[in-house]
């Protein structure tokens, strides 16, 4: 396989970034290993667990299944870009208040899935919330609090916000 690196630009958490990637490197590896964003996690590496969920052009995707070069010239958002250093996103705030994280490994992926859900469906039913995070595996099985926290945050997120 050709290992010559290719240069690409992407908009990462609202900043234009230029990065050199190997041809068959995943977006997850680029984010974690090259760009130092360790929020997205590698759980299974095959798209089953959702721990690597990021937004690609606003849509939740499993970044372990995306080749980095497929994100060229596109918008990527990770958990690091969900809130700001000063203000948590309403979802993060609700997760903290409800004590949702147990081991915490799945949480960045769950939050990104939930944020994408609320962007599409600002007032989801409990069933919609459960389907919205059905692609995220929590080995601590802390789903009940997640659903409660997401429903509460949905009520707090103004319509149309990300």
């Amino acid at each position: 396989m050709n290992v010559r690196k290719q240069a690409m630009t992407l908009t990462l958490n609202d900043e234009l970034v230029e990065v050199l990637v190997k041809p068959y490197e995943t977006l997850l590896d680029t984010l974690r290993e090259t760009l130092g964003l360790t929020g997205p996690k590698e759980g299974c590496g095959t798209g089953d667990c959702g721990a690597c969920t990021v937004h690609l052009d606003g849509k939740a995707v499993a970044s372990c299944l995306v080749l980095a070069l497929q994100a060229r010239n596109r918008q990527v958002r990770t958990i690091e870009g969900l809130g700001t250093d000063d203000t948590l996103h309403p979802l993060q705030d609700a997760f903290v208040r409800h004590g949702v994280p147990q081991c915490g490994f799945c949480i960045p992926g769950v939050l990104m899935a939930a944020a994408a859900l609320l962007a599409e469906t600002p007032r989801p039913s409990d069933e919609e919330i459960r389907y919205g995070i059905a692609g995220n595996l929590c080995r601590c099985t802390g789903y009940t609090k997640m659903v409660t926290a997401i429903a509460e945050a949905a009520a707090a997120v103004p319509q149309g916000a990300r």
Binding site: Y24, G45, D48, A62, A113, A134, G135, N136
Partner: protein, 285 residues
């Protein structure tokens, strides 16, 4: 990695690299294969920059670009009722939302897994595969496209560009159901896609396509013929469901035994036909 911006550039890249080249669309089948070293392509050709492959047009039938995603089928309002609802249902069942935003129709078909969910509804809609290659375009009925487990008629220098679905006509309805132990992130034990078209209370066209019961998705032809020209009473639907079982040549594996799969074909054929009929009659079921 080669990053073509058009179908033409794509065909050129395939011509240049031949069998060493591997196409990637959503990557949801390919990436796990690459990671498990099941596949060692010389060069990967990325379809994500080819805008024309992402178009879905609905005008006297459908033209579905090969890179239209499962999520788009799930959410497109033009597929939400009647004849195309089964196609939307199959898209909604693929993986999880994180997978559906990536997974493409073309990838599902070209990967050619016996359990592929988006294939039965397209078979039942009599879809045609539009293929691009060095000698231009050719069209192959989808039913002839898949030749075996993970094999298709595509040459190493060709790509699938579009699925062309003929206008099913008024009073047409479709439905897709699969059986899985878990609703999300599971693989079909059996999948059934049914389509019916009615005129004056009689079924003028019936199509039933089965997944995960043979090396390739298959039509239940005897069952289809038993319905055409008939009024679709519950008894006729039940008879067709029994006939559909004969088209299945399932294997026993960890997901289900031969007997269980045959039973599921009957149950899911009955249910999808019943729902397709209601939708052909304008119902929102």
């Amino acid at each position: 990695m080669i990053l073509p911006g058009s179908v033409k550039e794509c065909v050129q890249a395939l011509a240049e690299h031949g069998a060493a080249a591997k196409l990637v669309a959503g990557g949801t089948d390919l990436l796990p294969q690459l990671k498990n070293h099941l596949l060692k392509p010389g060069v990967v050709v990325d379809l994500s920059g080819v805008a024309t492959l992402k178009k879905l047009t609905a005008d006297k039938g459908l033209r579905i670009g090969a890179a239209v995603t499962a999520r788009e089928l799930e959410r497109d309002g033009r597929l939400a009722t009647g004849a195309y609802r089964g196609l939307a249902e199959s898209g909604a069942l693929v993986g999880s939302v994180q997978v559906r935003h990536l997974a493409t129709v073309g990838g599902n078909i070209c990967n050619a897994a016996p359990s592929a969910d988006m294939i039965p509804p397209l078979l039942a809609l009599d879809a045609e595969a539009v293929i691009a290659g060095p000698r231009g375009e050719r069209r192959v009925p989808l039913r002839d496209f898949i030749t075996g487990v993970r094999t298709t008629v595509l040459g190493a220098d060709e790509l699938l560009v579009e699925l062309s679905v003929p206008d099913p006509g008024p009073h047409s309805g479709g439905a897709y159901l699969r059986h899985t132990p878990r609703r999300e992130l599971d693989i079909a034990v059996v999948g059934v896609g049914s389509q019916v078209t009615l005129a004056n209370g009689v079924c003028t066209k019936a199509r039933i396509a089965l997944a995960a019961v043979a090396p390739t998705p298959v039509h239940a032809r005897a069952a289809e013929r038993a319905l055409e020209g008939q009024a679709l009473t519950p008894q006729r639907i039940e008879e067709a469901a029994k006939l559909a079982v004969e088209a299945a040549r399932p294997i026993s594996d960890q997901r289900g035994s031969v007997e269980f799969r045959r039973h599921l074909v009957r149950v899911l054929t009955r249910r999808t036909l019943t729902t397709a009929l209601a939708r052909a009659n304008g119902g929102q079921a």
